[in-house]
């Protein structure tokens, strides 16, 4: 199938809407840039000022995209009717009978906390069971974990979950030996092995949770719209307790519905895929969404890091639609608990998004998706532009302070050239920028205010307003810190340096002072030098920039303080930054909480030991591990066999602490070694060996 003609109603509407959006963005940006030029001493006539105006225009265009999208969302939500909504018409019976549609729920993990991952699976499974439609779904935990302890812990958690839910042969676990292409490769591997068994797959993140009803509705929507290849939900952020995460959760709940409606208004069937909490039609995915490697070395070349946008673009290129189900609830995720964790994640995303610039100009893609690639790159590129803007304007301010004014430049002129500073114009421009940035937030609050049942869930009108003020204040504090880091990430990526792709810390552990000093020390120093320079050279410009350098100067305590769960809980007790899921917890989240709190784990006895030691010592874990290795025995060369025999002796004589992760993995991969080590540790009369393995005989 080839998409060359735009004959569908949504495609016509999308074209008109995008043209309108473009016109609005250009108009507002041109007007604002004109004002910017006017307030500069030479009205943009010098080279430096000209560059400042250009950078400002780009930044203003960037923020006005968000503003106009939000206005489109407001229009959609206020109208209460959306003829293009993909979830229209699926409000009937919650059943998949007669469809013949089987759906795989995929949970790709890589060194995540197994307890949290499987608690999410359990909650989702039970919620699906409550709908009576569980027989249409299978779960697949697709592990890329390289940590040997995590590997075994995952196996234990899998067996525990299957046992407690009686879900053997319904919840599957697979661990890849070679983690080729990371998450996208993991999903592609699933497709190649079992994709033909399923019409749909729903991809989760390690911290995703979804209500059973939403999962069934997603399948129903896909059945109703056979041309839809990907249907993305708008996940809500929940379950965090630190201040920064609760701020993000609040912002996500209050503003995201309007922004998501706006995105839908503009994109329609050319929407995003965010990589999780989305349903995918497997057959076209397998046909069109295999990801190539880009020529060159990482980070610019190599395998595609942020795969989701590319998969959506490929799906569209293959003639399938990609939609955002912005009104479908029951889709949840968790945000990073600390600023540092958020920045670590952003560093990876930044690298992935900048790689998309290359793909944006590839042949055969639709212009809507090219725009999405550039939009993704600008999410981080805008920070660098902001940094450049501040640097240039500071340079201009300092230059102006040292410069002797030339009232009568060369050439004939009727009037002297007065370098004029119009603070009232600057204030007008500042006010306009503030409107563009904050008006959507105000409208979002108003939308909630008109719904009394919603207001109650946010703690009432007064607390909702107070939370808004607090969120705006905290966002303003965090913005310069994020800007500085994002600029650094973009700069580093452009230099061609690669970043690691480690696991995310998903629990509410705070940031320590030393860690904060290590991360924010340079930024604080930079801000101090900048502020001092402005203070002594151009006092008025110093005050204009105070909202930027003060947060940077405070970034260390800000990072530590905002990472504390106790601070977040304190605000919750005051009824601030509340989200509806905190006031009225949905069943699926209750179930998640109960599962995380449950300490009854039959196989997880011997809790002080790591997963590797459990696999050797605990007979049940040992049996589970051997069971999962079944069929993976391989013939090895004499050299490898003797190396493994040596490893066995090392493990016996020096204990598990003497083994590095690679050696532990070699043992765990070899059923003979696992069985032999289990036997020898248990039957040895040597107390020294027993104590090396945790003193098993003394239990």
């Amino acid at each position: 199938m080839n998409l060359t003609s735009f004959d569908k109603p949504w495609e016509k509407a999308a074209r008109l809407r995008r043209l309108l959006l473009l016109a609005l963005i250009i108009t507002t940006s041109v007007i604002a840039s004109g004002h910017m030029a006017d307030i500069l001493p030479h009205r943009g006539a010098t080279r430096l000022e000209f560059v400042i105006v250009i950078v400002f225009a780009t930044l203003f265009a960037w923020i006005s995209i968000g503003f106009w999208e939000a206005m489109a969302g407001l229009f959609t939500l206020a109208r209460r009717v959306d003829r293009f909504s993909i979830t229209l018409g699926i409000e009937g019976d919650l059943t998949l009978e007669g469809t013949g549609a089987r759906t795989a729920i995929l949970i790709p993990v890589a060194n995540e906390e197994p307890d949290r991952v499987f608690a999410g699976i359990k909650a989702t499974y039970q919620s699906l069971e409550d709908t009576g439609q569980i027989r249409h779904f299978d779960f697949f935990v697709l592990s890329d974990s390289s940590d040997p302890d995590r590997w075994v812990e995952e196996e234990i958690a899998w067996a525990e979950t299957c046992r407690s839910l009686r879900a053997f042969n319904r919840i599957f676990y697979r661990r890849r030996r070679v983690n080729l292409k990371r998450k996208s490769g993991n999903i592609a591997d699933f497709c190649r092995r079992w994709g033909k068994n399923y019409r749909y797959m729903i991809v989760f993140d390690a911290d995703s949770v979804m209500a059973g009803e939403s999962l069934v509705r997603m399948v129903q929507a896909m059945e109703r719209h056979p041309k839809v290849g990907i249907l993305q939900t708008a996940p809500l952020a929940v379950n965090r307790e630190t201040l920064i995460a609760r701020t993000q959760q609040f912002a996500n709940h209050v503003y995201s519905s309007m922004f998501a409606a706006g995105l839908h208004f503009i994109q329609l069937g050319d929407s995003h895929f965010w990589g999780h909490n989305a349903i995918i039609r497997v057959e076209p995915f397998m046909q069109h969404c295999g990801l190539p490697e880009l020529p060159g070395k990482p980070p610019r070349g190599g395998f595609i890091m942020s795969h989701d946008f590319v998969e959506a673009a490929f799906m569209r290129r293959g003639g399938w639609e990609v939609w955002l189900a912005y009104v479908l609830g029951g889709s949840y995720e968790e945000v990073p608990p600390t600023l540092l964790e958020e920045l670590k994640r952003d560093r990876r995303w930044c690298q992935g998004n900048l790689q998309h610039i290359r793909i944006a100009f590839a042949k055969g893609l639709l212009s809507a998706h090219r725009a999405l690639f550039l939009h993704g790159a600008m999410s981080y590129g805008s920070s660098l532009l902001w940094f450049v803007f501040i640097t240039l304007s500071t340079t201009a301010a300092i230059t102006e302070a040292f410069r002797t004014p030339v009232y009568f430049p060369e050439g004939r002129t009727l009037f002297p050239d007065w370098p004029v500073w119009h603070p009232q114009w600057a204030l007008t421009l500042l006010g306009t920028t503030a409107i563009i940035l904050f008006m959507p937030k105000l409208f979002s609050i108003l939308l909630i205010m008109f719904k009394s049942d919603q207001v109650r869930k946010y703690g009432g009108r007064l607390k909702l307003l107070a939370s808004l003020v607090l969120e705006v204040f905290l966002s303003a504090l965090f913005a310069p810190v994020r800007m500085l880091f994002h600029s650094k990430f973009v700069f580093i990526t452009l230099l061609g340096r690669q970043v690691g792709w480690g696991p995310q810390q998903r629990s509410d552990l705070g940031t320590g002072w030393m860690e904060a000093i290590r991360f924010h020390g340079m930024g604080t120093l930079l801000a101090l030098i900048w502020a001092m320079a402005l203070f002594f050279i151009n006092r008025s410009f110093f005050w204009w920039n105070a909202p930027i350098f003060i947060p940077l100067l405070l970034s260390i305590p800000l990072s530590v303080w905002s990472s504390r769960a106790s601070v977040g809980r304190g605000f919750r007790m005051l009824g601030l930054l509340l989200i509806p899921e905190e006031t009225e917890q949905p069943m699926v989240l209750k179930s998640l909480e109960a599962s995380l709190a449950s300490e009854h784990k039959t196989f997880a006895s011997y809790p002080e030991a790591g997963g590797f030691v459990k696999a050797i010592i605990n007979p049940v874990v040992n049996a589970i591990h051997l069971g999962l290795l079944r069929g993976k025995e391989r013939n090895v060369t004499q050299a490898i066999a003797s190396g493994r025999a040596g490893l066995l002796e090392k493990a016996m004589s020096q204990g598990p602490l003497s083994l590095n992760p690679r050696e532990k993995r070699i043992i765990l991969y070899d059923p003979v070694l696992v069985e032999e080590l289990h036997r020898r540790v248990w039957e040895t009369p040597d107390d020294r060996i027993v104590s090396l393995w945790g003193g098993i005989g003394r239990h």
Partner: protein, 118 residues
């Protein structure tokens, strides 16, 4: 049961053997009665075996005897992994898991070829 018979060294080793067997059985989440019954059986069998091969050690022989008993029980009992109460059957489970555990469905291979970017 005449477990205390023999040299003092043997008594100490037999106590250690008893501890080792009990520690192993603890992991299986059996009832106390069943745990003691199995431990006793294993230690008795070990004693007889040790008479045949005196160079061996009570700990080694007890654990081997316990393995033999567990394997025997597993083969004669039901192979259901999960009981009606949702509990993993302790004896059949441990050995049955190795043989029956189904972490993945049967393969049904398809192809997914990387797309092209020009």
């Amino acid at each position: 049961m005449p477990m205390s018979r023999g040299q003092p060294l043997h008594d100490k080793n037999w106590r250690r053997a008893q501890q080792r067997v009990l520690a192993y059985l603890q992991f299986l989440n059996l009832s106390s009665v069943e745990t003691l019954e199995l431990a006793l059986q294993a230690l008795n069998q070990a004693r007889s075996r040790l008479e045949d091969s005196p160079e061996s050690h009570p700990i080694t022989e007890s654990w081997r005897a316990l393995q033999a008993i567990l394997a025997e029980r597993a083969s004669s009992a039901t192979q259901d992994l999960v009981s009606l109460e949702g509990k993993l059957h302790p004896l059949t489970g441990i050995h049955g898991l190795c043989g029956q555990i189904q972490a993945m469905p049967a393969l049904n291979r398809g192809s997914m070829v990387p797309g092209k970017l020009r």
